[in-house]
Point group: D2
Chain length 354, copies 4
């Protein structure tokens, strides 16, 4: 499946023992231009990756290594699938060696370091690099990403909320009441990661539904910062995340009130036009009811635009696989852009249904 | 567990082959004042109930019978756990024999027969009885229920939305903007009933999340009619139901904007006072995050009141078991009232967790 | 629901933060002769039990306490819902105060202390008490249990395997080839407890099936010891446990070869007679296919006896709820016997279906 | 991803509205040498395939057609993803036009037409074609498949049982007691297909475990016929299928007693050698515990060989995705062989985990 003759991109992964890590490995091991070169885990040093993730047996021969052995400077790009705070501690030395950095955690998502410090309880250790970094939501920042050295890969919730609202608020549009937008979001349990926590146990999260983070969630300031950039002013957002007893999948139900002067707008057409040339954003036909399984294990995000009873309330439904378009797939999409590859390379898998 | 000496209530169930039927059987077979007398199913005539529902082995000896054999007129009360339209066709003859009727379908939920006909695609066949019937949401209509001959047992979604909003709009209160209330509701799959339909298959509904009925759901006019009664005027509601891959459980996230003049209200206190003496409505402490499993198989409904960042947006979280408080438990609660029993009789089961 | 006038049994629970703990609390809070008196957790000292387990809100007012404060000696009986090794360290002092002890862990299950030490990696600290203790499988040891001071409550797998095989091997019967019996067992994830472990995460155990412990499982020697007691000689058992993506429920498929001289046996009748008077063992009609949900949250265990093609191979299907008959319900059944109550007291809940 | 210059195989699918159909579409739409040409459904004539299966949006442009319009004779190969009995009614006319046929139902699995008629309740309508057809289990029949005109694609259970037992009984080996082999098999719910049946509802099959078909299952005679061919004599098999609350996945636990003269055999080595060159059969290292998710949505089948306590009982664990290696993936593997393509073409997807 390799492009004949093309040199492959040498890839390092820091911290590949979680779900975004194994998903990166799944995608990159099938990517025609990628060469998995090193993967680090201090704790699992020496263990074959395929022993931890047997879906990779016969496909990934790498062993986990300590960072010291991994020699990440030899790579063309390093993905950080780590807890918050790790990427910013290593970015500088990698950049000096001209290695590109894509961080799947939050270190390069928030430009406002005070906000970062308040929500992540740590000072930002490389504000200069942060300023040069690019928020890796391809559909909003395609050109900047192509030239970036460091990417802050978006959070899963922000990806759905931003792509679901962008057509309504971009380019100085005055279509909705931006003081009261509601994002009622639902995520599969894999969003909580592969950490041993009671709340993520099968017997706790299964056959159950709950809201969490109502009093405050780290993705809220991230969404708000980007919405403000898009709208050119503050956007009032209520954001309530919920936990769904499914493994993968994210569903965001967005509510926005149409401004009186915009009641004649054809919102279906507005969304279709906005995303007409996007390979991974699918604006479904009017009246559609997307389901998360239609993007399971694929990089697609689907949007349906509803206006109940033709009233003044818009209901935007957005779905994605939180581990693909919401994390690792988006990271690979960023990589493709950064290395001049067609954006869809290695990301054209059809979703798994049922 | 019988009250010594007390005559038991003779009970008939029409159409007990679905989930509300088996749940009625579970509750009533353990109810100290109930005597299961007859259960009808034309299709399953002669089959022991416990053959279809083996959880009832050794506890329920009844067989399904045709309506003809069942002699429902001998009962004190008949529950209809049937498709819409059945109860209204049989209510008149039962009432003449002084049998009480509790309909778990929609025949006696909507007082506006035109609305009924639009949503249920059939004319209402007994508008006179409808007028005398009572909407069986105990916490709103306790006194009327006690004297009622016919009860329209509320829909599952309406139970959560109405109890979640009542304290805000009852008694002429002007606390929220009633022109734009949002109910983002999520239901377990048992809400779709025990019908053989592709959309309810394990491999379709499992590991998946979706919205449905965005363009219109039968519970919408039911909620609206009751909200209007409560508020003394129309309430603008956007209602979006979603399907959760769990068996039982319902979670409603309600969004309401606080009116400027009401910003000083202590909403937590308001809810606590409103439901202080209710045995089955639990207003949780401020900051609580209820989960549906905390009421699994019990008749309790729990409410948490949130006001993110102390702003002008209220977020009310409401949970119940859709088959108990949302259907069969509520029906038994109605029966208790109608027969002068303590309201909690036979309904005090502790929820099953995990 | 209290027996009028009867003094309630004062109950202590050590270590009630796991699933067998909350299940004990659910059952005992609804038990007419039980008075929950103290519950210990060193880590959660002071926390209301209902804060951890919100299904108990309004039903259990106790707070967790340190063992020092809990004063367990005042109790009539103490349940240990703790890791292995805790009960045996505290049993002696409780027994001296004439407190009965029911251990839901393994400290009093194995009479052979060498076997105990090999499998549980700790020496047995009170072999004298162990000798007086009784293996709490009611259907096998009813009389001894009634007079016991200390009960070793059986493991979940052993309960199903022993009750499924007992009629075939008890009383010197020579019906099956006891050198090669196979127990292919399947358990819901709650059997792994409420410990934060990666393997029990929703995203690991969900939508997945696997065997575990094939090379050796702690319940194997427990089953073997009891089988040997029943059969009066060693029984060769292959035991393979599997993990099912469901919360509660256990299903054991037992395979035994009929001896040539026993081919004329009516095995259905044999099982029916053996368990005819047992309130919690249900031998289903010939040809039945039991499903775990038919006993969800109830103390019943159901057995179906199959003999495919009328050949020489018996297939015994056994189901239970691993947290009830397989743990906490069985413990309460033991308590009832020890205190002279009707065996079914507080255990007659109908299973939850669906 | 196309092989440059190579003509693509023109493919027809009869009856693509079920799970094996959509899985064929997923695999073939990503297959570099396949050209989806026609798909039939009398009921859904005119409906875009991607409307029924939205995971295919943007990837499959075909509409369902009636068989009359579909002109299947133009195809190089036709897959039948239909109920039993359809393929045999259409095979003759297709074969006359030199179209290859791969039947995913049972019409060409059993050579003994009397057995077929007993289990499938219909006469076999083309016994002559049946005789020329090949049982499409690649690892057993690779050469015959390459030259076949008609393939009977194996059942899902038989694939696991046959590949799990073949190394023990092939080539006249006398290693196990072939009179008493046990196959305790577990399948995800998608194995029941996309039919609207109560037993497959989420609320029936979820959070539940049961056996079914203990008195007889159609895959039993299929397995027995193939085992007899492999062993050169009858093999006594007890086969008990179970239903697991997961969507995809199959797990077979096989029990076989080692013959006294074979106790010295290195069974691990035996299996490794037998499957050393198989691209889709993975004999895992000794002691491994395979889980179904490690092959979710991939064509791999994994085997682990256990011998508890080094005794005389073998326990063979076999996993696959029932819709891929157990159905549609295997069908594509057969197609690859029949058309001279590398066997793995289009089948190298990495399994989805988590």
């Amino acid at each position: 499946m390799t492009s004949a003759g093309a040199a492959r991109i040498k890839i390092g992964i820091v911290g590949g023992t979680g779900y975004t890590g194994v998903e990166l490995l799944r995608l990159l091991s099938q990517h025609p231009n990628a060469q998995l070169t090193a993967i680090t885990s201090r704790k699992e040093d020496g263990m074959p990756v395929a022993d931890m993730f047997p879906n990779l047996r016969g496909r990934v021969d790498l062993c986990f290594q300590t960072p010291e052995k991994a020699n990440l400077e030899q790579c063309d790009v390093v993905f950080f699938a780590t807890p918050h705070g790790v990427a910013m501690s290593q970015a500088e030395s990698l950049i000096k060696q001209n290695v590109r950095v894509i961080d799947l955690a939050a270190d390069f998502r928030l430009q406002d370091t005070q906000v970062f410090e308040r929500w992540y309880k740590m000072p930002h250790s490389c504000p200069t690099i942060l300023k040069q970094s690019v928020y890796g939501l391809v559909e909003l920042n395609r050109e900047k990403i192509a030239g970036a050295q460091v990417i802050g890969n978006p959070g899963c919730y922000p990806t759905t909320v931003l792509l679901g609202l962008a057509p309504l608020i971009q380019e100085g549009r005055h279509l909705i009441d931006t003081s009261h937008v509601i994002a009622d979001c639902k995520s599969g349990v894999s969003g909580a990661g592969r950490k041993a926590e009671v709340g993520s146990l099968f017997s706790e999260a299964g056959d159950n539904f709950k809201a969490y983070g109502v009093a405050g969630h780290r993705h809220h300031p991230e969404i708000s910062e980007q919405l403000q950039l898009l709208a050119g002013g503050p956007v009032g957002l209520v954001f309530v995340p919920h936990l769904v007893p499914m493994i993968r999948g994210m569903f965001s139900t967005l509510y926005a009130r149409i401004l009186p002067e915009a009641l004649d707008t054809d919102f279906q057409a507005l969304f279709e036009q906005r995303y007409a040339s996007e390979p991974f954003v699918d604006v479904m036909p009017a009246g559609s009811l997307p389901e998360t399984r239609s993007v399971r294990a694929s990089n697609h995000l689907r949007i349906a635009v509803h206006r109940p009873d033709g009233g003044d309330q818009l209901v935007i439904l957005v779905i994605q696989d939180n581990l693909v378009k919401g994390a690792s797939g988006q990271a690979v999409q960023n990589m493709n852009l950064m290395f001049g590859l067609p954006e869809s390379t290695g990301l054209e898998h059809v979703a798994i249904l049922p």
